[in-house]
């Protein structure tokens, strides 16, 4: 065989993946990296979930039975850090990696080597963070918000926490740069901005939020580091600093951060509902503008997390009004989804079930959010289980539900196999019933006066805590079942068609086979 022929064959078939472990270490393929992100996120979801199980087991009844209060605080802190930075954010980045190039007709991400690096930082960051569990003084225990001065009492874990956060920030910013560069430069001819699927749009906006706020967060924790080790006094009143300054900086990052965790979810839901309603998304352009408005407003509402720190009246009023405004664009999204369903021809496969549950339960989280925005009543809600219920409704039945819906929706495209529909439905009902048993009673607990982040409580809170714990164990078990479903689908299952779903639209369903080949869109598709 001549060299020329060999070369031709080589060109025709393109590169398959390398064999063995090194494929995953060296890979620059957006699909491989997407898979790595998603599997890593699933592992972290179980890891952080295990911590939640410890929390709920200790809170099963009044009195301290299982752990020390200090360890309890470590669990609440680590649970949040791992779920936010290890489970939810990497899952969305994984979905972005898999889907954005396929949705805009690009062969890969714009910066593939940096893509590899952004992923591989994560396991090291979480190794640093998790190692603190075995250190003198234990893991960080001051809450994921790491308020000064309490966080400065952390033991040996402190510098490890800060450096882990720096690494996570670097990873997120690189991921965001990559997504923006891809969307700006790699769209197929004819794929104008206002033709992009909403998942691409929401991620585009999310990426800007990440670039804007992750450095702020890095700055805040670096100030903590120098306060602790280098004698600065940014957050110490004794040295002329201000502990509340930390909270302002943190929440200037923290509020956009919570939208970083929900905007891509809006994109996913906007993909799934039209497919199963067999009707185009209602109000596409208003959805884009609503997303942009939410992102903009996210920068001017941060102090609603701090209504009790003693701000002047004018400050409290400004942040109350600004926060209430967010209900308008969020409402527009909900109304658009309901209008998309209206007069459609709906079927209720597992992704649709999770998407519909998202709409209902996320809206409930939105209602409690609106209640929390009202400053005078927030004085009663603040730092109680009402807040815990609120952010778990928006993060678990919001963000996590959208990720699960996305997994069921696109897994057949990725693997070429349909998941088991009965198993998916069991997983849905089991999760949805248990998650409400878990979190709905927490509204009652908060209103009745139970503060958050306490390892033990007064006996009048006993009943609802027990109910909540039972829901928690059931929900945790349901997610183990989900892991099994994912495993079975990767291993085998009914062959998926190229379109996968009867009503599915978009380049990944209409222009690519299932499973998607290792390299797709090496020549740009025609956009109608």
């Amino acid at each position: 065989m001549s060299e020329a022929v060999a070369h031709d064959i080589h060109d025709d078939h393109g590169h398959g993946p390398e064999k063995g472990l090194m494929r995953w270490v060296y890979t620059t393929n957006h699909k491989d990296i997407g898979t790595l992100y998603l599997l890593f996120s699933l592992a972290m979801f179980i890891f952080g979930g295990a911590m939640a199980m410890i929390i709920r087991a200790e809170l099963f009844q009044p009195g301290m039975q299982l752990v020390d209060p200090h360890f309890f605080n470590q669990m609440t802190t680590m649970h949040a850090l791992i779920m936010v930075f290890g489970a939810v954010m990497p899952a969305f980045v994984g979905l972005a990696n898999w889907l954005i190039p396929m949705m805009i007709g690009a062969p890969d991400m714009a910066l593939p080597r940096m893509n590899n690096w952004s992923f591989w930082i994560l396991p090291f960051a979480f190794a640093l963070m998790s190692a603190t569990l075995f250190m003198e003084g234990g893991a960080p225990a001051a809450g994921w918000t790491m308020y000064a001065p309490l966080v400065l009492q952390t033991g040996d874990a402190f510098p490890f926490l800060i450096f882990a956060i720096h690494l996570l920030g670097i990873s997120s910013v690189m991921g965001a740069i990559n997504i923006i560069a891809t969307i700006m430069n790699m769209r197929a001819p004819g794929m104008t901005l206002m033709k992009m699927p909403l998942f691409v749009w929401t991620w585009f906006i999310t990426a800007y939020l990440l670039i804007a706020v992750m450095p702020v967060f890095a700055g805040a924790v670096t100030m903590l580091l120098t306060d602790k080790f280098f004698g600065t006094a940014f957050f110490s009143a004794a040295g002329g600093g201000d502990p509340v300054l930390y909270q302002h900086i943190f929440w200037f990052f923290g509020h956009p951060e919570v939208y970083i965790m929900i905007l891509p979810a809006f994109g996913i839901i906007s993909a799934i509902i039209p497919t199963f309603a067999r009707k185009p998304l209602f109000g596409y352009s208003s959805m884009v503008y609503a997303t942009a408005s939410i992102a903009f407003l996210s920068f001017v509402v941060w102090a609603h997390h701090m209504f009790t720190v003693g701000m002047p009246l004018a400050g409290e009023l400004f942040f109350m009004y600004a926060t209430m405004m967010i209900a308008v664009p969020t409402g527009v999204k909900i109304f658009n989804w309901v209008s998309t369903m209206w007069k459609g021809a709906m079927t209720f496969e597992t992704p649709m079930l999770f998407a519909l549950a998202f709409v209902v339960l996320f809206t409930i989280g939105g209602f409690s959010g609106l209640m929390l925005a009202i400053t005078p009543v927030d004085f009663q809600y603040h730092d109680t289980y009402f807040v815990v219920a609120h952010f778990h409704y928006v993060l678990v039945t919001g963000a996590v539900y959208s990720i699960i819906a996305a997994a069921y929706y696109w897994m057949p495209k990725w693997t070429g196999h349909m998941y088991n529909e009965t198993a998916g439905k069991i997983h849905f009902w089991w999760s949805t019933i248990s998650v409400n048993v878990l979190f709905f009673p927490q509204h009652f607990l908060g209103l009745a006066g139970m503060p958050r982040r306490i390892p033990d409580y007064s006996v009048q809170f006993a009943d609802w805590n027990m109910v909540s714990s039972i829901g928690g164990f059931a929900f945790g078990l349901a997610q183990i079942y989900f892991c099994w479903i994912v495993y079975k689908t990767i291993k085998g299952g009914e062959k998926a068609t190229d379109q996968v779903w009867e009503g599915a639209t978009g380049l990944e369903f209409e222009n690519l086979p299932s499973p998607v080949p290792y390299h797709s869109f090496t020549t740009a598709p025609q956009i109608r």
Binding site: P69, G283, M320, W342, Q380, A448
Partner: protein, 380 residues
């Protein structure tokens, strides 16, 4: 006819009684479901605002979810629905932007009024300073009948013992303290809040407000309690290991009772106890154990082993087994830059002498000496 009337009457009475019974049972249960209406002008307004917004949310929820579920039932493929093709309507988008905005304005008006009312701390009848410590509250009456009264309020020993035993066995588990804050009813009371170590938050739900206590800064709060009674709350800002174990108990009493309490609190003749009473090591040890179990236990633990590295062990420590002077110094003056605060203003001479004696002789510390209240007085 009369028979029928009597039966009717019976049914009416029975129904009314049953409904009243159900209502009171439900009312008792509602306490575990909803926010308290509280006992202050602020808490009542806050409760009304809370209910207003809750009902608005419920009504919006019924409309939106109603439309959604109607669509899910009617517009399903299995019923032979054929999908429509409409996908935008500028008029609808404008309507569902403007209408929610107007509803929000409707909420913002009462919210703003309530907030302005709540933040008006002018012209108080008396002022109480609240200081948060890890993990107890300190109260100081700055003016009025109780001017100068100052004490520390920690979790009651009963509750603390029940944590690892049987929480059901004590009254007001985790919501009980050794020293209650006593306040007069019907007076505008101004609180100023600060903290000595980390941020805490002072919250009694029945008073309708919560405010952070921040080291180095002063926050304000006011209340006017309408009904005599005991109102319980907790620290609401994560402040370390025993955040869940620093309750707040407010006892609201009539003004005469408050004046009597203040006089009693001021007039305690500690002086004679210090100089005249003959203290034995056993007396001091017993009293010291009590003091230790409310003042020190949070950090240094029941077994004296502390929580290194932040809270060092006392059992076997160089200080507690070394010279008495050094031991007294650290308790009186604290250790700046660490979590160990100065206790000279928090405990009296007898308590300090007692707790030092206890620490030097408890666990494996068998030093065998003791400290007299007069020694502590001399060291101050």
């Amino acid at each position: 006819m009369t028979m029928v009337r009597r039966i009717n009457g019976f049914i009416v009475v029975a129904t009314v009684t049953m409904m009243a019974g159900m209502q009171s049972a439900l009312a008792g249960y509602m306490d575990t479901l909803n926010m308290t209406r509280g006992v202050t002008p602020v808490s009542e307004r806050v409760y009304d605002l809370h209910m207003l917004i809750l009902w608005i949310c419920i009504i919006i929820g019924i409309v939106v979810f109603g439309a959604m579920f109607y669509s899910m039932v009617k517009h399903r493929k299995s019923r032979g629905a054929v999908p429509a093709t409409f996908h935008e309507s500028t008029r609808m988008e404008i309507i569902w932007t403007i209408v929610p905005f107007l509803i929000l304005v409707g909420m913002a008006v009462p919210a703003t009024k309530t907030l302005i009312f709540m933040t008006d701390t002018t012209e108080p009848d008396m002022t109480v300073k609240i200081t948060g410590h890890q993990w107890k509250w300190e109260y100081e009456y700055l003016d009025g009948a109780a001017e100068g009264v100052r004490f520390i309020s920690s979790l009651s020993a009963d509750s603390r013992k029940a944590v690892y035993a049987d929480p059901e066995s004590v009254d007001n588990y985790l919501l009980d303290v050794d020293n209650e804050v006593v306040l007069p009813v019907g007076k505008k009371i101004h609180f100023v809040l600060t903290a000595s170590d980390v941020i805490h938050a002072w919250w009694v739900p029945e008073l309708g407000q919560k405010q952070d206590a921040i080291p180095g800064f002063i926050n304000e709060l006011w209340t006017e309690i309408r009904k005599p009674g005991v109102y319980r709350g907790q620290c609401a800002e994560l402040c370390g290991r025993d955040h869940g174990f620093m309750p707040i108990v407010v006892r609201a009493v009539a003004e005469e009772e408050f004046t009597a309490w203040a006089a009693d609190k001021k007039g305690i003749g500690k002086e004679t106890e210090v100089t005249d009473k003959i203290w034995t090591i056993d007396d001091l040890y017993a009293r010291g154990e009590e003091v230790y179990n409310t003042a020190c236990i949070g950090c240094h633990q029941l077994n004296g082993m502390g929580l290194p590295p932040t809270f060092p062990a006392i059992n076997g420590s160089v200080i507690a087994t070394g010279p008495v002077a050094g031991h007294m110094d650290i308790i009186l003056n604290g250790r700046p830059g660490t979590a160990m605060v100065a206790y000279k203003d928090q405990l009296d001479d007898v308590d300090i002498a007692a707790v030092i004696t206890y620490q030097r002789n408890a666990w494996d510390n068998k030093v065998g000496d003791h400290v007299l209240p007069a020694d502590v007085k001399a060291m101050r």
